[in-house]
Amino acid sequence: MSVLRPMDKLPDLNAATILLVGTEDSLLQKLAESMLQDHCASELRVHLANSLPLPSTVNRPRIDLIVFVINLHSKYSLRNVEECLSHVDSSFFLGKVCFLATGAGQENHCSIHQNTVIKLAHTYRSPLLFCDLEVESFRAIVAQRLVRMLQICAGHVPGISAVNLLSLLRRSDSPPSKEL
């Protein structure tokens, strides 16, 4: 069970599970709490992890959305996420993976250039969100967004699927794919 696959388990009724992966425990915890405060029709489950692969001893439900949290102040978090990406099956990247970059607001603390993270997200064809997770109002907004994305990825919103959402989220001014 070293590679996460999107379809290897059956879905639970009305349940949606999100996996947050990142090195900063406090930020993940705060984001998880913000997400759980949001009222939504589905039953939300939030799993937190520092790195992949996940331990196989725990019995966990099917994961609908993975969010990789990168702290722009710490190169370590970027390296960690890059290593984790090899433990995710490629079919996950059809809309069920999202990157979240935090800390862009404090420019002088940044060790990573924003371009690096943008390129990473572009390589994996996944959406990239920028949010300062330390600020409560921004965190609440991104939590709402993630809950909505999660509901779509779990199939709870009729008429739209994860792949649909991916093509809608792709920015119109992002570089053309033929460049890579």
Binding site: S74, Y76, R79, N108, H109, C110, S111, H113, N115
Partner: protein
């Protein structure tokens, strides 16, 4: 205007793109275009020239700039000055002296025991520029006019500040003739004097000062560039300082390396001659991090780099630099100018 041009691997430098496209556009149009390009993507030049002695360097009189070395400067970025003229320097000295005397008499910036007889001197710094197109750098000094005959006729230097622009083509192309672009301002001396003089310049020339903060990303670039410089003899060890964010007080880690070892490490990492790439900088820093981790089991990559000190120069994230080496003086200023221009834009 196709923003995809920015992604072209051959020319990421926005200066050459701007010049090619805009022949005959008004300065305002050029400015708007450059701002539009900035907002669509954040360009980080993946390649940089290695600091070399440029031709203009030979024109600098080493004695004249020797007083600029070995001093700690607080760096600010400055927007272009409106209707500044090099011929009026005496006039400006007079006006600024009067202004400072008036302010001090008002009691706004009184220091205990300060002599009210001060004199302000404006002078140009010949040769502190990158290309011929760069405006001349100029220096402002506050001297105390001492009544005593024992002291030197000119008096003690209380405060020094200088304005310069080194290789500032990207900014020069976008402003009209009335403006003088000197985006880098360096000050040494009491903070009260800096704010007084800054205020006078802002009122007189309609410009705006802001302190230049150097991010950890840029500090690691500086570390790599300055380690790459060839030196005959090293005057200082290469040191890095990191700040670890933890409660209740932050922890500071300092890591000192013998400069020749640092150079040897850089030489083993450096492949392309004449240029430095982002990958090489990352690899250089990763080598240092992994070495530290092996010995102390601390991930330095999770902390924040706050200060870099080499034999060429040292820089702190709060915007304080000290240049130690005469040979690479222009090179260090060129990078600082680039950061200042980026901050203005």
């Amino acid at each position: 205007m196709d923003p995809y041009d920015l992604q072209g691997s051959a020319s990421r430098r926005r200066t050459s793109n701007l010049k090619d496209y805009f022949v005959g556009a008004t300065p305002l149009q050029k400015r708007l275009e450059s701002v539009r390009r900035q907002s669509s993507f954040f360009p980080s030049p993946p390649r940089r020239k290695i600091l070399q002695c440029t031709q203009l360097q030979e024109e600098i009189d080493p004695q004249k700039v020797a007083f600029l070395l070995h001093k700690q400067w607080t760096v600010y970025s400055l927007t272009p000055l409106y209707k500044f003229s090099y011929t009026n320097l005496k006039e400006y000295s007079r006006l600024l002296s009067a202004f400072i005397a008036a302010e001090k008499q008002k009691g706004l910036a009184v220091e205990v025991g300060e002599d009210f007889n001060i004199k302000v001197v404006f002078s140009t710094l010949v040769g502190v520029k990158g290309t011929q197109r760069d405006p001349e750098a100029f220096l402002v000094q506050i001297l105390s006019k001492s009544q005593s005959s024992r002291e030197h006729r000119e008096g003690r230097v209380l405060w020094t500040g200088w304005f310069c622009c080194v290789f500032g083509e990207s900014l020069l192309g976008t402003v009209s003739e009335d403006f003088t672009c000197l985006p880098l301002f360096l000050a040494n001396g009491a903070e009260s004097n800096t704010s007084l003089i800054g205020g006078w310049f802002q009122k007189t020339f309609d410009c705006c000062f802001s302190p230049l903060t150097i991010s950890a990303f840029n500090l690691s670039w500086m570390a790599a560039m300055w380690t790459a410089c060839k030196m005959d003899h090293y005057v200082a060890t290469t040191e890095f300082f990191w700040s670890v964010p933890c409660h209740p007080q932050s922890l500071d880690i300092s890591y000192a390396i013998h400069p020749e070892d640092a150079k040897a490490l850089w030489d083993s990492v450096h492949k392309t001659s004449g240029e430095i790439t982002q990958e090489e900088v990352d690899l250089f820093m990763d080598c240092l991090y992994s070495h530290f981790h092996r010995h102390f089991k601390i991930h330095l990559s999770a902390t924040r780099l706050v200060r870099v000190s080499t034999s060429v120069a040292s820089a702190h994230t709060d915007g304080k630099i000290k240049i130690l080496c005469h040979k690479y003086f222009i090179g260090v200023l060129a990078y600082m100018t680039e950061l200042a221009i980026f901050q203005i834009e």
